[in-house]
């Protein structure tokens, strides 16, 4: 479904991605693991069009998305739930959700129906629908960010560290949501530092170190402890 080939992205002279290739299959949770600074967020930002690749390709269902700008990428079916949520703090919950549907040019009735759908899925958001997003708890903001991403009706949902900065109980809740979304058929590319939780939901995983994919496989295929250790600490420079 989503296919990344030899992606190279740099900040000035520093190459953050040195040729990444990975595939995310339809209906699966694909997981990208790796230590800090390995290039996980850069990968997602390049796919989403916030950053522009120096070379390589991003292809979704045969359509080349490499040079598209962020606004065009999301309207073609790739939505990113960014690290640290990045909700619109001085907008209420409902406007945050509406903003998520901006790319669709849908009618007000259609958007209202999808907002209602999100409230069914995340009842806590409905309780807080008139509250400013900046006043929500971290877990609620993460739910809002996920719901906002879903409002774009993406073909694939990219999630950047959805568990970061959340209490363990809330983390478990967020991973339940990911599992639930996947059961309903949402394709997910998940970036995580919490490797143990991530491997639990993933169908396939990639390990990224120093801007390169150093390992890939299915959970259970290999010693999980080794993957987890490398995801946190990295190994030798790949």
């Amino acid at each position: 479904m989503l296919s990344i080939r030899d992606l190279v992205t740099s900040y000035g002279n520093i190459e953050a991605l040195r040729g990444i290739s990975l595939d995310a299959a339809e209906g699966e949770v694909t997981c990208l693991l790796g230590p800090n600074g390995a290039g996980k967020t850069t990968t997602l930002f390049t796919i989403a069009g916030i950053l522009t690749a120096k070379s390589g390709a991003v292809v979704l269902n045969g359509e080349d998305m490499t040079r598209l700008r962020a606004a065009e990428v999301v309207s073609r079916g790739i939505a990113l739930v960014p690290e640290n949520r990045l909700v619109f703090p001085r907008m209420d919950v409902e406007d945050n959700l509406r903003a998520g549907a901006y790319s669709r040019r849908a009618s007000a009735a259609e958007i209202a129906a999808d907002v209602a759908d999100m409230y069914r899925r995340f009842p806590r958001l409905e309780e807080r629908k008139d509250q400013l997003a900046g006043t929500l708890s971290g877990g609620e903001q993460q739910m809002l960010a996920i719901a906002r991403g879903l409002m774009a009706r993406p073909r694939i949902l990219l999630m950047d560290e959805p568990s970061i900065g959340l209490a363990p109980m809330i983390v478990a809740e967020i991973f339940d949501i990911i599992r639930e979304l996947n059961r309903e058929g949402v394709t997910i590319l998940l970036v995580e530092q919490n490797a143990r939780m991530a491997l639990d939901v993933a169908h396939k995983f990639y390990l990224i170190e120093g801007g390169r994919i150093t390992f890939s496989g299915s959970p259970g295929e290999i010693e999980q402890d080794e993957v987890i250790q490398r995801a946190y600490l990295g190994s030798r420079q790949g």
């Binding site: 606004a71 309207s75 903003a99 901006y102 790319s103």
Partner: protein, 298 residues
């Protein structure tokens, strides 16, 4: 007793007129604050472009004898176009983090527009049309000038229209999204450049109304108004709290009333000095402004 009463009526009348005129300051303040909210930058061309818009309206008045409503409409439209030009020349292509470059470019824009006006008019004041300037309402001991009432009504209408766009339309949703979290806005499919350009045009339209109303209340349009109006606009923006629209409204009225109060007691030459003193007091004791929370920008 009756002397005191007479004086009281005089003072409150003057302050009241100031509040009415302050509505134009509020509009200019809203324009500055809108752009600051969107980009975190000051568009120094703003007041000059607003008055240049009024000059465009005046041209229609001078050459084809257009009626006052048409003059006001052309003022707003021309100022909206100038807003777009200011965005393209001073903001669009300057790296987003280079605040000083954008500030200097827009100060350059301010003087460029001002010079153009001076050359086109030889720097002499020109009569600007007003509506209802022959109407006077008596409210108890007070007189309400019809033209000032119209100025206030136009400013209120402009502000309401802006709030409608910001809070009830797709365009407004995009504008607010970009101003609060520009990365997330892009991820929602919002084009940041296009949205910022729209914000400049919206602010420009509002500025054109403010420029025309200022000229209409004063009765003349002169390049000499440019710098004082820029300064007043910035004072209103700071006193209201950078990025706060309700703050700009309150501060505009406050500055308008305040300046007439000192006009009454200290005369026109000292008036602006006290307004600057008001700014100073705010900067020391409430630097976040009337409605700013201090940590409002994220």
């Amino acid at each position: 007793m009756s002397d005191f009463w007479f004086e009281f009526v005089e003072i409150t009348q003057t302050i009241g007129d100031g509040l009415f005129f302050g509505a134009t300051y509020a509009l200019i303040g809203i324009g500055f604050t809108l752009i600051f909210g969107a980009m975190g930058k000051l568009n120094m061309t703003y007041a000059a472009a607003s008055l240049a818009g009024a000059y465009a309206g005046l041209a229609a008045f001078a050459f084809v004898d257009a009626p006052a409503p048409v003059v006001f409409l052309i003022s707003a439209l021309a100022s909206g176009v100038l807003g777009f030009v200011a965005y393209l020349t001073c903001f669009r292509f300057i790296p987003i983090n280079n605040h000083l470059a954008a500030l200097m470019a827009s100060i350059g824009g301010l003087f460029f527009i001002d010079e153009m006006v001076v050359h086109a008019t030889d720097g002499s004041p020109l009569t600007f049309p007003a509506l209802f300037d022959d109407v006077m309402f008596d409210v108890g001991p007070y007189g309400v000038r019809g033209d000032l009432l119209f100025v206030l009504a136009m400013c209120v209408a402009g502000t309401l229209a802006l709030l409608y766009v910001l809070y009830r339309t797709r365009l407004g949703l995009a504008t607010r999204a970009v101003s609060q979290q520009d990365v997330a806005a892009q991820l929602c499919g919002i084009d940041v450049h296009r949205t910022n350009a729209t914000t400049f045009v919206l602010a420009g339209l509002l500025g054109g109304i403010a420029g025309a109303m200022t000229a209409s209340a004063v009765g003349v349009l002169s390049p000499l108004i440019t710098v004082p109006l820029t300064v007043k606009g910035l004072i209103v923006t700071v006193i209201g709290g950078l990025g706060s629209i309700p703050g700009a409204i309150a501060a505009g009225l406050l500055v308008g009333g305040f300046e007439n109060f000192f006009l009454y007691f200290r005369g026109v030459n000292e008036r602006d000095m006290y307004v600057l003193l008001l700014l100073f007091i705010f900067l020391v004791f409430r630097p976040q402004g009337i409605f700013g929370s201090g940590a409002d920008r994220d």
